[in-house]
């Protein structure tokens, strides 16, 4: 590295420090004003009602008008969609299961030889003995129609964004909204538009599943080698010929990755859409058992989805990779066996619903949950109370309100506040003396948040603070973006609910970052640990989210702690995966260099692998945040307050305005968090020279 470069990097670092310090200082000033003059300047703390606009009514009217105009077109569309639905449904539901089992096994052989064939055979065999065969086939039929729809939509968006690079950033925002807006928020409008039935679930899952396809198509097209592109131009094809005959085939590898993600997303969303009904699929079955709080059967039905997800994921992932051709005669043989057994089955009059051989197991699991609750009731209560008193309550309403004689044993007074701030000021001073000025500011800001409570933070502090973080992460443009977005929630009158959602997801994300980081680190260090953790991650990610709620409710009852746990169970997965992935994918040269210079295993881990993995881990954190927001809506089924509950309320009351507005507010929170974390990740990447 030359001297000039070092100097400029030093300068850059100094510049960052100043920017961070300035931001921290400014936020601190706002916090101090709110803390000391909040009582006089009430408009700084809570947004005046007079300035709140009836956003939900406007949105309701706007969407209502839109629905009325587009309803006839949408109805034609849903009429047309019913044909493939009926065909696929009839094919999958009507065929005897030995035939389908044989086909899947044969397909597995074609794709990946004996391993894939075994996966297909045992996976679908499990569905047969679970007793949910018909429901499972209905679910598959829904996926089979929604995935082509989503893939076409996604490919269209991706190609559009590639052809018109100027619109790329707007397209990206649209894709983000499609992915972060909770499905429940727009189920009611879809219902009005497309009419009752499985078509609504189909469209909802297509909306959710299209973005990964679009992103990968775009990425694939952008990565096509310039030489290939030039060759196409020189051979004189039209633009369309270039695109479809040269560039898209050249990008096929990346497009297959997108297709795989699209499949998985559709599968997870089909279940959520079951809330509407109209189709006896696995999602409906899970909902029925959930209403009876039967964990065993719900888990069994949910496992069918996990099996589908694993089979589909592995097979379509194998499609995306170059692979040796398999002997077609073997596949034909397997298929023939399946067909023969199917014919015999039909003649012998087998039960088309599969064999319910697992009911005993399901009951046992259910019984086990009950037993555990009965035996460990006191311990569970202690865990819950301790976490509530010393963790969640102070975070929500602040130490000043949460510290009471019957929780902590004493009442919080002005003296406590004084001592509290004095201690934190001392820590901040120490940190500042060691040269970390922004961190010192963060310590003091943290103290303010902890004393006030997230749900009671003044709006001015939140918006200004988030804007400052945006400024540090990505400059003035990002700062303005995030402040304006949050301002929209503020004037819409959903601010208090948004803060409650922010508190619950914030607490969950913090816990996930810690636990997921440790587990990811452990998995990176020990392949054996990863062998245990990986299937757990797979299951947590693909099982219908509702299933988690039952044991959590049984153990800890209705309330925030249960919601917190349910969110953590789902959102911790990306943190584990990305942390591990980041830590193990350090380039070999770097590790060799470290080993050569005498670094031990742990030293390499902390000083080489960890800094190199930082951007990947930040991406994991980003995913964890998005997952936490997604789960927040489901957690409303355990009785949380905040935006999630509003969305459910709106769904129940068919209140389009409230549903869409709360959904957009949720999407805004997720987008802001996403942009901030990505800003920091980008900055780290540049610092590492990636």
């Amino acid at each position: 590295m030359s001297a000039v470069e070092t100097a400029s990097q030093d300068q850059a670092r100094r510049l960052q420090i100043t920017r961070g310090s300035v931001a921290a200082l400014l936020v601190l000033v706002i916090a101090a004003i709110c803390r000391f003059w909040g009582e006089e300047l009430t408009w700084l703390v809570s947004w005046p009602d007079a300035l709140t606009v009836p956003m939900t009514d406007w949105v309701g009217a706007g969407v209502g008008w839109f629905l009325a105009v587009f309803k006839p077109i949408a109805r034609v569309f849903s009429y047309l969609l019913e044909f493939p639905m009926t065909w696929v449904g009839g094919l999958l539901g009507g065929a005897p299961w030995p035939l389908i089992l044989g086909s899947v096994t044969a397909l597995g052989w074609l794709i990946g030889g004996a391993r894939m064939a075994a996966l297909g055979f045992f996976g679908f065999g499990f569905v047969v003995i679970s007793g949910y065969w018909l429901e499972g086939m209905n679910t598959l039929a829904l996926v089979a129609v929604s995935v082509p729809l989503a893939a076409l939509l996604g490919a269209g968006i991706g190609i559009f964004a590639f052809e018109y690079p100027k619109l790329k950033s707007s397209v990206n925002v649209v894709l983000d909204v499609m992915q972060t807006m909770p499905t429940f928020a727009y189920l009611t409008p879809l219902l009005v538009l497309f009419g009752f039935g499985p078509v609504v679930g189909l469209i909802a899952s297509a909306i959710f599943a299209a973005p990964p396809m679009a992103r990968n198509v775009l990425l694939g097209l952008e990565r096509v080698e310039p030489e290939i592109r030039e060759a196409a131009v020189m051979s004189g094809g039209t633009r369309r010929q270039q695109l479809f005959l040269v560039e898209l085939p050249a990008a096929s590898q990346q497009i297959m990755v997108g297709f795989n993600q699209c499949l998985m997303a559709a599968l997870s969303m089909v279940i959520i859409a079951a809330v509407i009904g109209g189709f006896e699929d696995i999602g409906w079955e899970v909902l029925l058992t959930m209403r009876k709080a039967l964990f065993g059967p719900a888990f069994l039905a949910g496992s069918v989805i996990v099996v589908f997800a694993v089979v589909i994921d592995r097979m379509s992932a194998a499609l995306a990779e170059p692979r040796p051709a398999q002997d077609k005669r073997v596949a034909l043989g397997i298929f023939a066996i399946g067909a023969l057994v199917a014919v015999w089955a039909v003649i012998a009059g087998w039960n088309p619903a599969g064999i319910a051989a697992m009911d005993g197991v399901a009951d046992k699991v259910d019984h086990g949950v009950g037993q555990f609750t009965a035996n460990h009731g006191a311990t569970l209560d202690t865990i819950k109370n301790t976490s509530m008193f010393y963790g969640l309550l102070p975070l929500r309403i602040g130490l000043s309100d949460a510290v009471l004689p019957f929780t902590w044993g004493f009442a919080w007074t002005a003296q406590h506040s004084f001592v509290f701030y004095a201690v934190f000021a001392a820590i901040a001073a120490l940190v500042a003396l060691r040269g970390h000025l922004p961190q010192a500011g963060l310590v003091l800001i943290g103290a303010y948040v902890l004393e006030t409570g997230i749900a009671q933070l003044p709006w001015a502090f939140v918006i200004f603070g988030v804007g400052a973080v945006g400024w540090v992460a990505g400059g003035r443009k990002l700062a303005i973006q995030v402040s304006v977005l949050l301002g929209l929630i503020l004037v819409s009158g959903l601010w208090e609910r948004a803060l409650l959602s922010l508190y619950l997801s914030g607490a969950s994300v913090a816990a996930c970052a810690l636990v997921g980081g440790v587990l990811g680190f452990w998995s990176a260090m020990s392949p054996r640990a990863w062998m245990v953790i990986r299937p757990v991650c797979d299951t947590l990610q693909t099982i219908p989210l509702f299933v988690f709620l039952i044991p959590v409710l049984m153990f800890f009852q209705i309330g925030e702690f249960s919601a917190f746990l349910a969110i953590c169970m789902y959102a911790v997965v990306p943190m584990i995966r990305y942390t591990r992935h980041g830590l193990i994918s350090t380039p070999e040269e770097m590790i060799e260099a470290a080993t050569a210079s005498g670094a031990g295993k742990w030293q390499t881990m902390f000083e080489v692998r960890a800094p190199y993995a930082a951007p990947t881990i930040l991406l994991g954190l980003n995913q964890t945040i998005l997952y936490a927001f997604a789960m927040l809506v489901i957690a409303a089924l355990i009785g949380t307050t905040g935006l999630g509950q509003s969305i459910f309320l709106a769904l129940g009351q068919a209140d389009v305005g409230l549903g869409v507005t709360a959904g957009v507010a949720m999407a805004i929170l997720a987008l802001v968090a996403d942009r901030l974390v990505q800003g920091f990740a980008e900055e780290r990447k540049q610092a590492l020279g990636l």
């Binding site: 219902l191 009904g277 409710l553 009852q557 309330g559 089924l637 009785g639 068919a654």
Partner: protein
């Protein structure tokens, strides 16, 4: 159980015969009538009995699964033709809007006498001596307290979208309880189950007929009778300063249909209007499904065969 069945049989027979009805046209008997199946077992029983009655009259019937809250738009659009167990305590605003616009037709009450109230699993009586009298709750509220509600006791209320009747009672009766919305029916059941397993205190807003009433031995707290005056006149009842200081008013359970039903299938319309089902008939069937694990179809078929007098007259009156 047979005794209950017999009693219900005679009661039903009386109501059925007493109804004045005249024969109507079958209408489009070759097109299936679609009945909504919602999320709970009692409704499945109610719907299957109605469906079998329509089949006996010569109709084709299709059962369509539909979310309770989302079915009304479908009925207004004619995608579903009737839904047979709507609880007045748990019906969306959308229903009223669609009904007022003439896009939905309310048929009549089902005759299912429902009861809602503040309830507790039987073992809780030991934790709060004096129950089921409501006054007992005044002194033992602290036994029901949790981390989120301290120092008040905790009442698990209906999910927020069903309204807050439990919270209204606590305010009306000036009881030191804080209501926590449950979020879903599953959450309510999980609370009952966990409380029974752990023998822990629980006060909950609940209703019958429901299979959990007997499965978890749930009892209602005795409150002053819910007269109309209680909901309008603060002076009425034990608390002179508040309304709602009494039990729940009786909830109505009724049926609704697509407005086109009457013209397309006149006899079916008449059957569904006159169709009645009592708690005494429904509850054992629910138990057979949820506790014994039999299928709804089998249970209903068995009941239909054993209780022809309860439903045949309604079908005959409409078709003959």
């Amino acid at each position: 159980m047979t005794k209950i069945l017999k009693a219900s049989l005679s009661a039903l027979a009386v109501t059925a015969v007493a109804m004045s009805a005249q024969a109507a046209e079958l209408g489009a008997a070759d097109e299936p009538i679609k009945l909504a199946l919602n999320e709970w077992t009692g409704q499945h029983v109610t719907t299957h009995v109605a469906g079998e009655m329509l089949k006996a009259a010569g109709y084709e019937v299709e059962y369509v699964t539909a979310g309770m809250m989302n079915q009304f738009q479908a009925i207004a659009d004619g995608d579903i033709h009737a839904t047979l167990e709507i609880w007045s305590s748990n019906v969306s605003d959308q229903y009223a809007v669609l009904k007022d616009d003439g896009k939905l037709e309310e048929l009549s009450d089902l005759g299912l006498n429902a009861r809602e109230g503040i309830a507790y699993p039987a073992h809780v009586a030991d934790l709060c001596p004096g129950l089921p009298a409501w006054e007992a709750l005044k002194d033992c509220a602290i036994n029901f307290a949790t981390a989120e509600t301290l120092p008040a006791g905790r009442l698990v209320d209906y999910p927020a979208d069903w309204g807050t009747p439990g919270a209204d009672r606590m305010v009306g009766l000036d009881l030191p309880f804080k209501a926590v919305p449950a979020g879903s029916e599953g959450a309510l059941i999980a609370e009952l189950r966990a409380s029974t397993e752990k023998k822990s205190p629980l006060l909950i807003t609940f209703w019958q007929p429901h299979w959990a009433m007997s499965a978890y031995d749930v009892k209602f707290v005795e409150l002053p009778a819910g007269e109309d005056a209680c909901f309008t006149d603060p002076a009425w009842g034990p608390n002179p300063n508040a309304i709602n200081d009494c039990d729940f008013s009786a909830s109505r359970i009724f049926k609704a249909a697509w407005p086109g039903l009457k013209d397309k299938w006149p006899a079916a319309h008449e059957i569904l209007v006159n169709y009645q089902l009592s708690v005494e008939a429904q509850q054992p069937m629910m138990g057979a499904v949820d506790v014994d694990g039999d299928s709804v179809e089998d249970v209903v078929a068995e009941w239909m065969a054993a209780n022809e007098g309860a439903w045949k007259p309604v079908v005959d009156a409409a078709t003959k």
